[in-house]
């Protein structure tokens, strides 16, 4: 699977004195499950954007395995992300008017990468996340169910990396715990590296370790979970 190495990564915006993200070095092992915490505005989403290739740092290398995605042109980064990363966001970004199944398959279909086995996999994933009716319209799902569909979508192409930005923040505690549990167990089952931005103590506690961001810098890289 894939390990992440950040090297001298810096993101700044014009008009801001200090960079919003400034990470000298960070290494996350393959199949590790890491939580990212930090106050609002500390650069967590910026970090997600950089490590998923949605944005490029002003400087530095973002190595997934041996590949520096910061050096890839946009179309290549898009393709790399489609094949490598499963994303779960705070907002579910499901498309109303499409069924749960169609939502799970949409990104793959738009890439013409939804063959028979992909469709079968989508059904299996929906069953795994507890959605019983694959053809149910997304508009009628509960919020917890919506996020579970989003988790299934993230896993469809068997990504080596699973990244979540506040996956439980817009759910009530019960549903939040379900989704956290799903993310963790699915990452462990598939051997994906999991990086999750979260404030959810119950999720953070169950990760291998947690990183704290503060004003764009990594604070004391506290080890939790196994290391504790």
């Amino acid at each position: 699977m894939l390990a992440l190495t950040l090297d001298q990564v810096r993101v700044s915006y014009p008009g801001l004195e200090t960079p919003v993200l400034d990470i000298r070095s960070l290494a996350i092992a393959a199949e590790e499950c890491v939580a990212v915490t930090g106050p609002s505005g500390s650069g967590k989403t910026t970090l997600v954007n950089i490590i998923t290739g949605l944005a490029r740092p002003d400087q530095g290398r973002v190595l997934w395995g041996a590949e520096d995605i910061a050096a890839l042109p946009e179309a290549r980064r898009d393709r790399w992300r489609a094949e490598t990363v499963g994303l779960v966001m705070q907002d579910f970004h499901l498309f109303e008017g499409l069924s749960a199944l169609d939502n799970v398959l949409l990104p793959a279909r738009l890439r013409r990468a939804a063959g028979r086995d992909t469709v079968d996999h989508a059904h299996a994933l929906l069953a795994r996340v507890g959605i019983k009716r694959a053809n149910q319209s997304t508009a009628t799902l509960s919020r917890g169910e919506m996020q579970r569909v989003a988790v299934a979508r993230a896993l469809l192409r068997r990504p080596k990396v699973l990244i979540a930005d506040e996956p439980t923040a817009s759910l009530d505690p019960g549903h939040g715990a379900e989704v956290a549990e799903l993310l963790l167990s699915l990452a462990r089952e598939s051997g994906a590296t999991l990086i999750a931005v979260s404030h959810d103590e119950r999720l953070i506690k169950r990760m291998d370790r947690s990183l704290a961001l503060s004003a764009g810098r990594l604070a004391n890289a506290a080890f939790a979970g196994l290391a504790a």
């Binding site: 946009e74 489609a82 966001m89 970004h93 990104p107």
Partner: protein, 384 residues
């Protein structure tokens, strides 16, 4: 992709409908102008088909054509009485038939003429029911609401005028002509002698004048010679087809103005749609970013926006052609009911070019918001 586009359009059905209607109206306007002008041109050319050469007293050539070909009521000056006999004797003439206006029945003009005209209008066939023999025998056009055998009293004056009824004279319908698609379908043709008699003119003494004479020359050369000869102080001779062509030139100018107006309307609609679409794409920054974040390629994002908009505008254009055609059909049918001239509303090969041009323009317009979506950064998905 298609499923996503359909779901998207269904969700945005109200805005989609507005775009379709806007495009439909704008293209219907352009199509309608083209079709209507063509219908008028073809219809009146057809109407003038059997009228090779028309001779009348000196005056307006246009009015002579409108009165004889389209039976438009107007007081025409009378030709000197000796013109008709002279033309009938002329070796260059197949036939010369008088056209005598002045009376009407209900909304139908009663026209005095001779069997030659009936023959010409009916393509040489005998009228259904029979050929007129006596002075009281009338032959009706196909659109006249009378039956063979019925009698009627003509009224002095044009159809609809408050003239007096010639109670002293009764016609009987003996025959009916086949449809010609011209104003003559609404005409009642009676012997010219009857018209003279009703109006107190007597052919025995000195031939009375008539307002117009339809002349069928033997050859084209004869037609030109005759026209030259009868163009003078006393008479005018016209080829109705030529007069109509002149009229179309004026009509063509009007069409040009209308077309420019239609084009301006289309440009405005195009600009409005481009703006709506750009605003819409801006509004969907997050959704588009999410598609990209989840792995959709940029080309798919372009494709979705482009196809959605093109589908809407294409539907609008198709609908516009339909609406334009239907509107012109309606107007033309109304005109036919009023004056009998059948206006053929039809598409021609060149119209395909217009449709294609509109589609290409639509594709170009759709490409603007689509390329904006294409260039939108993917990070938008994660920002709230």
């Amino acid at each position: 992709m298609i499923r996503f586009i359909l779901a998207d359009l269904k969700r945005l059905w109200a805005a989609s409908l507005v775009i379709i209607l806007l495009v439909a109206l704008a293209s219907a306007l352009g199509v309608g102008i083209t079709l209507q002008e063509r219908a008028l041109r073809l219809g009146s050319a057809r109407a003038a088909d059997k009228f090779d050469l028309v001779i009348g007293a000196a005056g307006s050539e246009t009015q002579l054509v409108l009165s004889s070909v389209f039976l438009q009521p107007a007081p025409l000056p009378l030709l000197p009485g000796d013109v008709l006999p002279k033309l009938k004797q002329d070796p260059r003439v197949t036939f010369a038939a008088p056209i005598g206006f002045g009376d009407s029945f209900k909304t139908y003009p009663v026209v005095g003429s001779t069997p030659d005209l009936i023959n010409a209008l009916n393509n040489g066939a005998a009228p259904e029911g029979g050929t007129p023999a006596g002075e009281h025998d009338a032959v009706i056009g196909s659109a006249v609401d009378l039956t063979i055998g019925q009698s009627f009293e003509p009224m002095h004056g044009a159809a609809g005028d408050a003239g007096h009824v010639h109670t002293e004279f009764t016609y009987q319908v003996v025959g009916r002509l086949m449809p010609t698609g011209t104003a003559w379908d609404r005409a009642i043709i009676v012997p010219i002698e009857a018209v003279w008699e009703i109006h107190g003119l007597h052919a025995e003494e000195k031939p009375p004048g008539v307002p117009a004479i339809l002349v069928k020359p033997k050859t084209i050369a004869d037609a030109y010679k005759l026209r030259g000869e009868y163009r003078g102080d006393q008479t005018v001779a016209v080829f109705p087809g030529e007069v109509l062509t002149r009229l179309y030139a004026t009509l063509g100018d009007a069409r040009q103005v209308m077309s420019i107006i239609a084009l301006a309307a289309q440009a405005l609609v195009a600009a409005a749609i481009a703006l709506i679409a750009i605003a819409h794409v801006a509004q969907r920054r997050r959704q588009i970013g999410a598609l990209r974040a989840f792995g959709a390629p940029r080309s798919a994002v372009f494709g979705i926006v482009w196809i959605e908009l093109l589908a809407l505008m294409g539907t609008g254009i198709g609908l516009g052609f339909l609406v334009g055609w239907a509107a012109v059909r309606l107007i033309s049918d109304q005109l036919t009911r009023q004056n009998g001239v059948v206006l053929p509303v039809e598409f021609q090969g060149g119209d395909l070019g217009l449709a294609l041009l509109l589609l290409v323009a639509a594709a170009a317009i759709a490409a603007i918001p689509a390329s904006l979506a294409y260039r939108q950064p993917a990070v938008a998905a994660l920002r709230s």
